[in-house]
């Protein structure tokens, strides 16, 4: 008995059965099977590729910036390089990060990240203009890190500090760029 809606001359028989024939049913089965197996196999692949995105970041430690007295009478922001131990994939590395120590209007010593909150360039201090001026897209910040002009959505990011045994310590963190509020991302 012929279940195929296709006639011997190759034309589709309009009076043929409405349900799919053996060939199209098997074709559908193969398609569904291939998609299912593919989807199942892609789970470990996706997990593998997403590992660094989903893995928990390690807690950052406190880094020494120097004796607190050193910064009590500064008139301009002072750049300090701190070394932090960082996991970068499979390697543990000591990476250097630039920090600016400055004083706010209240006279308090503050530590600022040198990473621009706009698109992540490193910001230098311009002594002649007494401003921080980002070399990439000309974001301008005052000596205490407040936004003066340009495209950055917020002031320079202040880092958590503490004084321990007369030493100023900072906790280095990364913040999300291009958002008006400070969001820690790692």
């Amino acid at each position: 008995m012929n279940h195929e809606p296709v006639q011997a001359n190759g034309e589709v028989d309009p009076s043929g059965p409405l349900f799919p024939g053996r060939r199209s049913f098997l074709g559908m089965l193969l398609g569904v099977g291939a998609v299912s197996v593919g989807a199942l196999l892609s789970v470990p692949l996706v997990r593998f590729a997403l590992h660094p995105v989903l893995a928990r970041t390690t807690e950052t430690a406190w880094s020494d910036l120097g004796a607190v007295d050193e910064f009590s009478s500064i008139t301009s922001p002072v750049k300090r390089l701190i070394s932090i131990e960082q996991r970068d994939g499979w390697r543990k590395m000591i990476s250097e990060k630039a920090i600016y120590v400055t004083t706010g209007l209240d006279g308090q010593v503050r530590a600022l990240s040198s990473i621009c909150p706009h698109l992540g360039c490193s910001i230098p201090w311009n002594e002649a203009k007494r401003q921080f001026i980002c070399p990439c897209h000309v974001g301008v910040f005052s000596a205490d890190g407040a936004l003066v002009s340009g495209p950055p959505p917020r002031a320079m990011d202040e880092l958590e500090t503490k004084v321990e045994d007369g030493r100023l310590k900072v906790r280095y963190q990364y913040f999300r760029q291009l958002v008006p509020t400070k969001e820690v991302i790692g």
Partner: protein
């Protein structure tokens, strides 16, 4: 009668082509392949304006060849990338030349790509049943820009580091999924060795594979729709006298390819591409500037 004449012509043709060709032709079908490839009718005949697509394919092949050779020495890790590029540039014989050819070749691809799109647009070659041809071209455009973007980071110098920092931060601006895309591209929050290996995989495996696929689709769809002809031609129902692709258009294409490789070769030889200092995010004195084709975006980001 007509069959007899055809047979006679075929015999004369076969005799002229020689025994070796005929041996292969009977087994592989080179004759019909060459006929398909070379005898494509072009309405209105050959034009210099049609050389850009073929030029792009040539540049892509040149990038593959130089890229494969660069990969002999390059190591995609933050520890070694800059050192291996310095080794290629300073120590390996012809290393600076090959690297410069690869680097200038990427810029040339962007230039010729823009010329190809402009020609297609001005000549109305996208009209008729060519929607998918245009769309596949748009995908190829994005893939070529993706190649330029991912390749840029690989030397791991200051310029590369900051260009990619800015680029991935821009990707982070995509609504809802931006932050995840950024982290996926970087392989974490920060730029590091995982970013480099991801960009390397995209640059060497993923995007080239996609380009191969889309070039095949693009060429197939082009041949299926047929050449659109000059500006004065109706791209849907061509009426002008046709000229075969070989020899005149092929010669023009070859001439353009020669011009391209000669220009790139001279540039690579006399003005070799420099390698900047190793990426150091703590350096606040570095003045990052993007590649020339990103300058409009660079300016736009200041507002």
């Amino acid at each position: 009668m007509a069959t007899m004449i055809d047979d006679a012509t075929a015999t004369v043709g076969a005799r002229r082509r020689g025994r070796v060709f005929n041996w292969f032709d009977r087994r592989v079908g080179i004759g019909s392949l060459l006929h398909e490839a070379l005898d494509e009718p072009i309405p209105g005949g050959e034009r210099l304006a049609y050389v850009f697509g073929s030029g792009l394919l040539f540049l892509f092949l040149s990038q593959i060849i130089t890229g494969v050779f660069l990969a002999l020495y390059y190591v995609p890790s933050a520890d070694h990338a800059h050192t291996t590029i310095a080794y290629i540039t300073k120590e390996v014989m012809a290393g600076s030349f090959l690297r410069s050819l690869h680097s200038y070749g990427s810029s040339a691809m962007v230039v010729v790509l823009i010329l190809h799109v402009m020609q297609t647009f001005l000549y109305g070659s996208y009209k008729g049943r060519r929607e998918l041809l245009w769309v596949s071209g748009c995908v190829l455009f994005a893939l070529v820009i993706g190649m330029a973007f991912t390749g840029y980071l690989l030397p791991w110098d200051m310029k590369a580091y900051f260009a990619t920092t800015v680029g991935t931060n821009i990707a982070g601006e995509v609504p809802l999924v931006g932050e995840s895309i950024k982290r996926l591209m970087r392989g974490g929050n920060d730029m590091g060795t995982l970013t480099l290996s991801r960009f390397f995989v995209a640059h060497v495996f993923l995007i080239p594979a996609a380009i191969f696929g889309f070039v095949a689709i693009h060429v197939y769809l082009f041949r299926k729709a047929g050449a659109a002809g000059p500006m004065s031609e109706d791209p849907i129902r061509p009426t002008q006298k046709t000229e075969r692709f070989y020899p005149r258009q092929v010669l023009m294409d070859m001439g353009f390819r020669l011009l391209l490789i000669a220009a790139l070769g001279l540039l690579a030889y006399f003005v070799p591409v420099e390698l900047g200092p190793k990426a150091d995010p703590a350096d606040t004195q570095y003045l990052p500037r993007p590649e020339w084709y990103y300058l409009p975006v660079f300016q736009w980001l200041k507002y």
